[in-house]
């Protein structure tokens, strides 16, 4: 029970990071972007490559942080990867989605996002192999903080929690304290009104993609630290991300953060009553439940 609670919060906070980007893009551009989860895999794998590059460059970079199996180079690699992933997300929008939204409807963009996710996922498989992997050999055996059989906690997992908390707080400050953050909120709440007030929609769309890509990349690294890297990690998460965004109410950034926690906790708790094999179906049930009971989610507006 305690273990499920902890696992749920851990997975939930990772989902929150992914769902925020999804909900932003989904609300501003009004389409369900199925390829968002592939940004998570992308970020995780870019970090893998950069990590080995930095390790090769200098020995001092490969020194581990105290108690953790996370090295300095991994953190630098993650920072670079989140930039790259954000930029790639914006480039994909420029090349595909921008053209489609000018000439066709939102559902055509959903189709395209399915195609893009197929391409990204399998390209990762081609480049990195189909087997799952780890950042380094130590991660699977990270230091245990508690050996209590009721609650197994790894130091790495506390690191993930601290990191997601840090990201959330910075994001909150960015949104509530900066003018760019205000503009982004305005666009996601009412694109038409925001434009009337002189906010540049194209720039905000770009920002939403970059922010979403960067957050997804962090989520990918956290997920890989907690589990492992595999080309299908994005596909396994996509439904949970949608569930989180829908629970929170599409467009609401805080809703997505809370929705991620709820979905993570629910998925983890559900395993206490249903067999493990049915786990992939849990986010689907959450989605159906929300659509029947509260179609606009917790913080969503009528649409």
């Amino acid at each position: 029970m305690l273990q499920s609670l902890f696992d749920g919060i851990l997975v939930g906070s990772i989902l929150s990071l992914g769902a925020i980007g999804l909900t932003l893009v989904m609300h501003i551009l009004r389409f369900a972007n199925f390829s968002h989860a592939e940004l998570i895999s992308m970020g995780a794998y870019f970090t893998l490559t950069l990590d080995s590059v930095f390790n090769a460059l200098s020995n001092s970079l490969s020194s581990k942080l105290p108690m953790l199996s996370v090295s300095v180079s991994l953190i630098i690699a993650m920072l670079c990867a989140l930039l790259i992933t954000g930029v790639i997300a914006a480039i994909i929008d420029r090349l595909v989605f921008k053209r489609l939204r000018e000439q066709a409807g939102p559902l055509t963009m959903v189709f395209a996002s399915f195609g893009i996710s197929l391409i990204i996922r399998n390209a990762i498989g081609l480049v990195y192999g189909l087997k799952s992997t780890h950042y380094n050999g130590d991660i699977a055996f990270a230091m245990m903080l508690s050996s209590d059989p009721l609650l197994l906690v790894k130091a790495d997992q506390l690191f993930i929690l601290a990191l997601t908390l840090l990201v959330m707080v910075s994001l909150h400050l960015f949104i509530s304290r900066t003018s760019v953050g205000f503009a982004l909120t305005a666009i996601s709440e009412n694109p038409v009104l925001a434009q009337v007030n002189g906010i540049n929609l194209a720039a905000m769309v770009r920002l939403a993609w970059m922010l979403g890509g960067a957050l997804a990349a962090i989520a990918g690294v956290c997920y890989a630290l907690n589990n492992q890297l595999s080309p299908v990690m994005g596909r396994d998460l996509v439904l949970s991300l949608f569930a989180a965004a829908i629970v929170g109410g599409i467009g609401s950034i805080y809703g997505a953060a809370l929705g991620g926690l709820i979905v993570g906790l629910a998925s983890s708790m559900a395993l206490l009553i249903i067999p493990t094999g049915y786990k992939p179906a849990v986010p689907f049930l959450i989605i159906l439940l929300v659509l029947y009971l509260r179609p606009n989610g917790l913080f969503g507006e009528e649409r």
Binding site: P106, F114, N122, R303
Partner: protein, 337 residues
Amino acid sequence: MIGIISYLAFFLTIALILAITVLGLNLQWGFTGLFNGGIVAFFGAGAYGMMLLGGPERIDGLGGFGLPYPVALSGGIALSGILAVLVGLATTRLRHDYLAIATFGVAIAMESVVRNASYLTGGATGLRGFERPFESLVDGALQYNLLFLAFVVICLIIVYVFLETLVRSPFGRLLRAVRENERAARSLGKSPPVIRLTAFVIGSMIMGLSGALYATFYAFISPQDLAPILTFQIWAMLIVGGSGNNRGALLGTLVVWGGWVGSGWLLTAVAPTHLQLYTGSIQYILIGSIIVLTLLWRPRGLLPEKLGTRHYSKPATDPVDWHSNEDSGKPHAQEAK
């Protein structure tokens, strides 16, 4: 020669079974603008439903009632319909994106059910072995395959004629009305959610028929047959062929399925042994690229939808028929609310 004929019969049988699914999707997406992200779930419901009702008795689980084939087939189709009603009720009154997400979820839920509920579905090993219809009528595998091909062709023709009649009827105009301008349809006293739900359920039942035929042909169904790639292939077929046009859907099926089988064969023949593992990935990338590139460069497919007065029996002054003046390049423009 016999080898070629038997291969051709095999290829065509599978292609035409898939074509039935593509026609079902065309009713949902092409004519009504409903996005089905879980084709494989409705396909699977038909296949498993048929096998459960028509299959031989099982010692290790429920099902295997050995019912006559037409009953089993109808049962499979009905199961797809029930599934579609359950999903549709929750989603068709909402924004279309939700339908895409929910149906995508159905496919994942369906896969975990067929993998785990082994007392019902045989789990990962699937359900196998049952006497196929007309099997006792002919000797020899080739003869049977040709006979079954004929049966599939008949099913395909029935579905095609049914859909063509449907989309040319007043109901068909209503579907396009809902797709193009929901508010206008509502102002005419029609109920878009009901119309959408109806189209969604009919389309899903056609997919169920297709799945049931697929399972009949192999006399076997397992979770492997419900891999998500099937959903992508079906879309690629419809997009390439031209959504909103049933003949386009058929053409797209043959082109994409031919390309899929051909590229698989080519990659296996050309790729070095240690890379054989990756041929699947390359094929998936091809399917993804076909979807994206077609949407970008030929969004209306090989045979685009024909919108115009000559399709309609009523004159263009019909209040619902505003398409006649609106045949711009935006067949699926949704209203952003």
